[in-house]
Symmetry: C2
Subunit: 338 residues, 2 copies
């Protein structure tokens, strides 16, 4: 739980129980700390002391409620970072994060950085893996629940097309996954603009063809020259004002900014430039549930491996250390073993 800004603490709580007939109880196999967990941790986002933490996790079902039919005990399941009823208009439209009965893990709900989680609407929310998984496969599956789904969403929002040039803004786990998603969408050239030059090798492994520094004044000119005036697709994976401003400069007339970073202190949009050049702004929290089945199938087939963004693994006892390591950028993403 988040005790106070800068203080995450492991506490014993009663085991969750089935409360509704649609619930499942899931024992967590592997969880992770997300970049967005750092915002309340840093006090940059509102939280209530005692909030439970962790929205990236996979686990094994222990028990299901009377109405649950798709999910069975002993299933290894992927949990998208939001739960949803699976039956409302928004869910039927694939917009699971706008489900009026849905919500996010953590806070008042159980968090994934824990031993067990009560999952509402288990049939609508969870995706069973239906195969045995060793530690290596668990590490490949874990990123699908959030950062890889979000990278895929960025590529969809930015409408990445085969052979096209793409700019990815951000070299955190989401940006790296967006590069992988752009490669999966067969982009011809993938410019990754970030702040961590030490991640270059990893970025190349994830699909980036050009690694550029966000704070290098030559970056904008380089991309504009190489692409003769900017790219059609920008995947904005930081959620900051400077990233949105950069996106607006690097997108070409008629292009699209796909923005998946949670807007944090972003209060200016250069609407006149968007208007003047018919540039679409498509910002959106990832309806992760929509992406889990295809990403799972590709991962099981050995065609997709997002595990390189998991840079370390720690036990649940060391969760406070994990937050500090993420906060100081010593790690991209730390997996938490309960």
């Amino acid at each position: 739980m988040l005790e106070d800004a800068g203080r995450v603490r492991l506490v014993d709580v009663p085991d969750p129980v089935i409360e509704q007939p649609g619930d499942a109880l899931v024992r967590v196999s592997l969880a992770a700390v997300c970049g967005s967990d750092l915002w309340p941790f840093r006090g940059q986002e509102a939280f209530t002391p005692g909030d439970r933490m962790g929205h990236e996790w996979i686990g094994v079902v222990e028990e299901v409620g009377a109405d649950v039919t798709r999910i069975r005990p002993r299933d290894l399941v992927l949990a998208p970072f939001a739960f949803s009823d699976g039956s409302c208009r928004q869910c039927r439209d694939g917009l699971f994060t706008s489900c009026p009965n849905g919500g996010f893990w953590g806070g008042r709900h159980d968090g994934g950085q824990a031993e067990a989680v009560r999952v509402p609407f288990a049939d609508g929310t969870l995706v069973p893996v239906r195969t045995d998984a060793d530690a290596e496969l668990l590490r490949r599956l874990l990123p699908l629940t959030d950062v890889m789904a979000t990278g895929a969403h960025a590529a969809v929002l930015a409408d990445v097309r085969p052979g096209s040039a793409v700019v990815v803004l951000g070299d955190g786990a989401v940006g790296l996954c967006a590069a992988l998603a752009a490669r999966r969408a067969r982009a011809g050239r993938i410019f990754l603009v970030g702040r961590h030059p030490e991640r270059s090798d990893l970025a190349r492994r994830m699909g980036a063809t050009d690694i550029l520094a966000a704070d290098d004044p030559a970056t904008i000119g380089f991309i504009q020259d190489e692409t003769k005036g900017g790219v059609r697709s920008v995947a904005e994976c930081a959620g900051t004002q400077s990233a949105l401003d950069l996106a607006t400069e690097l997108v070409r007339p008629g292009g699209i900014i796909g923005s998946v970073g949670v807007p944090n202190g972003v209060d200016r949009v250069d609407l006149y430039r968007l208007f003047r050049h018919n540039i679409a702004l498509r910002a959106g929290v990832t309806p992760a549930r929509r992406y889990l089945e295809p990403l799972l199938a590709e991962t099981l087939a050995g065609q997709l491996d997002a595990s390189p963004v998991v840079s370390a693994e720690m036990s649940l006892e060391d969760v406070a250390t994990a937050y500090r390591a993420m906060d100081t950028r010593q790690a991209i993403k730390i997996a938490i073993r309960p």
Copy 2:
């Protein structure tokens, strides 16, 4: 020309001449005053005293330069509100308003509220009508050059689909044309939200199924109830902060705001709401040239009539009166006969 804020004056200037081999000289048959002409007129937009005025016009070609092949003398032609070279990447992509060699009528260029206009890139810019036109047909053709093309662009940006519910914000000429465009795209229900109840009959004629007052606090609730939570497509045709705010409230999760009003004093976008519900914002000046051929074909076939938005006609001598009548909302759009 615009002499000063609030002062439009007819002045004699030398007849334009062919300057470049791609030019055409066109004698204006009919022009119009546009709502956007009122902004510099009111001093709400920068202008240079002496700016020529008028970007909505049609005319008959008098003379063409040596390189002009598609356009011939005596052709009746439609002039989109921007000229463009027709050959650059942007023009090939249909994004004529982002042509690096293009520009808008008026200001330093000849304006359409005049007797004659020099047209750069005549082959790329002008669309020949290729039929005789009486006064009635001229009135039907005139709106295609701007407001009807812009209405069509709003429906495209907002991705209006057959059978769907659409909100159009604004009951000026563009909003009315957007209603017509939504009907043309076979929308099932068209909510027009405006500020001029006296335009209700006209709005219905243009395709609106429900006419609502922007300043009525019940309007939002009515639309949300009737559409079970908002519409997928909002065509924002005012360019004001209040219209954008209203669009953000009336669009449903996963929906699209298509914004064609020139942003005037708009400096806030509720990016968090867009992000939270995957709402796309597609703002764009209309590449009118893209729409002229299909709109012309439908008009000539008698399937499309945007002329009801032309509420009066005056002679060029009375252009100052026309501005005052538009400014005081006594007229929706006034045609100017040279």
